[in-house]
């Protein structure tokens, strides 16, 4: 099949699905929307798989966009991201009919989902600046519509506004980056730009790199452009949150891979260093916010930022190591980054879908009011447990193998690689390790406080189990998590294709992800499957040991919880999400800057007797407070100055126009 035909199938599929949902009668609309999204995702998976194995010859459709036309092509890198997006869309499509039955979604919002998916499937196929930017903007606009689904809530409107501003600023940076690049290369096709990249001046390349990093970083939720992510993702309907958090953020990573690594690379060392630093800072900051977050979906959204940070660390390490001629370690780091894209997509889709089931059943997102769901929603609890295990990067979880690879890539820097690497890599390892540790804390909190223990509100106590379609959709993602956790080998060939195609990692034998993961050039190996097997064996042994002496035991009996001899414990006496995170909040006081207040009111008889103690703790995003506020104030101040020029007089405006034209002509001269 030619590139043009494949692109056409996806594009037409998206448009047809959109129209069909718009025209469908209200009754079956949500089912139709889900089915079409899943079908589109399925097409995406099939398309991506063929692109990975056989690539896609470039095709040019001159008539589609005036002047520039549309250019599409595909290689293994595009294929990988298409498959991941498609798979997320399948799970979300199957899931969403059940969800939209609980939480009504408007016709416009439902119809936008397939277009959004199609935009994300087409973006990796774009092979010219115009095509890329068009697909990017389509993705940004459709996602904005989806974030604003619940636009009657003020929080949603605020989140939508933040998202709109930041995504458009990111787009602006991208336009500047790609336009500068294309102007320097005298062509706007990616193939031509790749050929011309080495002829560009270092200053120009650096400018393109930094501008594109701003654009792509804002999409991936990297520091300091992360603020929209933790606001917008939780406010969208949960299936959309899954699409945003598991598929759309990946496009930021894809952009970096395509523009900065494939087209612009190989770059100097400091590119890699910048990526490692930004990634590590993002990972640590986001995971800290996640571990103190009390909103289940906000926690998951911060975890998305965290994982994008880890992927960026891998990407940066690959560039850094490749620039230091440490190709083996570079490959390992790149493998880690790519594998983590797939792993993160799997467990984050599952996380948001399971959280969506909770929201649909209880209407509550606040962990302090959840709890006890394990009894009422056992299937959803198991599903969320799988997601949490994956997100905490523990053995048997989906994230373990990729984080292991990442650490291997970081620690196997050759000592001869120079002082910069010798100082940067240990700190990166420390950051990744701290992220892993705090990630565990965040996920233990989400799962332990949200799903175990006793219900902290009536909504949680009476939550019904999620519907069949929701369970089915989430189960697809859970299956992907399980397979990726135990047998990452299924992605082995794909990753080999991608690694050989990327300039930073080509020319070496890539890591082998068999039953035993072997890293050529590095004496390190791991076998998640064997570990799982060994654990299963050990569980058997333990069960046998625990059965020893069971004949002489009195019969088991239930008992009320031990309340130190006092009256029965009430659910209000449990640890809540806030109290669980309190020690961490104290330890990282300087970074989090929590705003805590204790109000003590005394009885009028004596100040030794208390009438009431109220404790309030709010954690706001410190970076948002410290960095965004001054910037916004500065912009407002500048705007005030500029406004003085707005006199309302036509003559003055004409003079401005003439002056501007003169300046442009002089510069162009």
């Amino acid at each position: 099949m030619s590139a043009a035909a494949l692109t056409a199938v996806v594009a037409v599929g998206g448009v047809v699905a959109c129209l069909a949902v718009l025209l469908a009668p209200a009754r079956g609309r949500h089912v139709l929307a889900g089915a079409l999204t899943a079908a589109l995702g399925g097409i995406g998976v099939a398309l991506g798989a063929t692109v990975i194995t056989s690539g896609l010859a470039p095709a040019h459709l001159g008539w589609l966009i005036p002047l520039a036309g549309v250019t599409v092509a595909g290689d293994a890198t595009s294929g990988l991201f298409i498959v991941v997006t498609g798979a997320v869309a399948v799970a979300v499509g199957v899931y969403s009919p059940g969800y939209t039955r609980h939480a009504r979604q408007s016709r416009a919002s439902l119809a936008t989902v397939p277009v959004f998916v199609a935009a994300m499937l087409l973006l990796p196929l774009a092979a010219s600046v115009t095509t890329f930017l068009a697909a990017w903007e389509l993705m940004a606009l459709t996602s904005l519509v989806l974030v604003l689904t619940d636009h009657r809530r003020p929080e949603t409107r605020q989140a939508g506004l933040t998202y709109a501003v930041m995504t458009q600023l990111g787009f602006l940076a991208l336009v500047l980056a790609l336009a500068t690049f294309a102007a320097g290369a005298h062509t706007e096709s990616f193939a031509g730009m790749q050929r011309a990249a080495s002829t560009l001046s270092p200053g120009l390349r650096a400018a393109v790199f930094l501008l594109s990093l701003v654009g792509f970083g804002s999409k991936a939720g990297l520091l300091p452009l992360h603020a929209w992510l933790a606001r917008a993702h939780p406010e969208a309907p949960s299936p959309v949150s899954a699409l945003l958090s598991a598929a759309m953020v990946n496009m930021g990573i894809y952009g970096m891979l395509r523009v900065d690594v494939a087209l612009l690379g190989p770059g100097p060392r400091w590119w890699g260093l910048v990526l490692v630093l930004v990634g590590a800072a993002t990972a640590v900051y986001a995971v800290l916010q996640a571990s103190v977050a009390n909103d289940l979906k906000r926690l998951l959204a911060f975890s998305t930022s965290e994982n994008m940070g880890l992927i960026t660390v891998g990407l940066g390490a690959a560039l850094l190591l490749s620039a230091a001629h440490n190709r083996f370690a570079a490959q390992v780091a790149m493998t880690a980054a790519l594998l983590h894209v797939a792993n993160h997509a799997a467990f984050k889709t599952l996380g948001f879908l399971a959280a969506g089931s909770v929201v649909a059943s209880t209407g509550v997102r606040d962990l302090d009011r959840l709890g006890g769901l394990a009894r009422r929603m056992p299937a959803t609890t198991v599903l969320f447990g799988v997601a949490a295990l994956g997100a905490s990067a523990l053995p048997l979880g989906a994230g373990f193998v990729s984080e292991w690879l990442l650490l291997q890539g970081l620690i196997h820097t050759l000592p001869a690689s120079g002082v910069m690497l010798a100082l940067a890599m240990p700190l990166a390892v420390g950051a990744v390790a701290l992220t892993a540790g705090l990630g565990v804390a965040a996920m233990v909190k989400a799962f332990g406080v949200g799903f175990l223990a006793r219900p902290r509100s009536d909504e949680a106590a009476n939550a019904p189990e999620a519907g069949a379609s929701m369970l089915a959709g989430a189960s697809i993602a859970a299956l992907a998590c399980a397979v990726l956790a135990v047998a990452p080998a299924i992605l082995s060939r794909t990753l080999t294709h991608v690694l050989t195609a990327l300039p930073a990692t080509s020319g070496q034998q890539p890591p082998r992800l068999g039953v035993l993961l072997r890293l050529p050039g590095i004496a390190g190996s791991l076998s998640p499957a064997l570990l799982a097997l060994a654990l299963a064996g050990a569980v058997l042994v333990t069960v046998v040991v625990a059965g020893w002496g069971s004949r002489r035991r009195p019969a088991p009996r239930p008992a009320v919880l031990w309340g130190c001899g006092g009256p029965a414990l009430t659910p209000r006496m449990q640890y809540t999400s806030s109290s669980f995170a309190e020690p961490l909040q104290r330890v990282f006081d300087d970074l989090l800057r929590p705003d805590t207040d204790v109000d003590v009111s005394h009885l009028s008889e004596s100040r030794y007797l208390l009438a009431k103690v109220s404790y309030r703790s709010v954690i706001v995003d410190a970076i948002e407070q410290r960095v965004y506020r001054p910037v916004l104030r500065a912009i407002a101040a500048v705007a005030d100055v500029v406004r003085r020029g707005h006199t309302g007089s036509i003559h003055v405006y004409l003079a401005y126009g003439a002056l501007g034209l003169l300046i442009v002509l002089m510069v162009a001269q």
């Binding site: 002489r552 009195p554 008992a559 009320v560 031990w562 309340g563 001899g565 006092g566």
Partner: protein, 158 residues
């Protein structure tokens, strides 16, 4: 090295173990290891002082396999002191209920046995055996550590 010197000079504080009393056939499963949860059901704290002496270096009840634990779930028995006051009777019962079988209840001191001098007091619910079944009683006001340890050794058999 002040600490090391003191350890060397102090030597062994534990007194030699008295002769092993005959083992009572209360709970054969608890032979050699006995974890106790102490419940002060309304004691004057005299018995508490003696109990804490039992676990001091001099008497060292731990050498006979006896330990005090924090949770009745971890315990094999209750060490109850004092008369059972109205306020503590429910707590004593709850602690008893929380302890897994097989379990023993040891009433320490005269108050625990028969309310002692507090018998008939307005806040007194009764002796320990009025609230939970008692397996072993140690008389005395307060009983000496030797007496308490002897009772405990009758259970552990060490």
């Amino acid at each position: 090295m002040g600490m090391l010197g003191r350890i060397r000079r102090g030597g062994r504080a534990a007194e030699p173990a008295p002769e092993l009393p005959t083992r009572l056939d209360i709970a054969p499963a608890l032979r050699g290891s006995l974890a106790l949860r102490h419940v002060d059901a309304g004691s004057c704290n005299g018995c508490e002082i003696e109990i804490s002496q039992c676990f001091s270096s001099v008497y060292d009840a731990e050498r006979y396999g006896v330990r005090l634990v924090a949770s009745p779930r971890h315990a094999d028995g209750l060490l109850v002191t004092g008369v059972v006051t109205r306020n503590m009777s429910a707590a004593l019962l709850a602690t008893y209920e929380a302890t897994p079988d097989p379990k023993v209840v040891i009433a320490i001191g005269d108050c625990a046995r028969d309310c002692g001098m507090f018998a008939g007091g307005p806040g007194v619910e009764g002796a320990v055996h009025d609230v939970v079944p008692v397996d072993l009683e140690v008389p005395g006001c307060p009983p000496t550590p030797e007496q308490i340890i002897k009772a405990l050794r009758q259970i552990t058999g060490r």
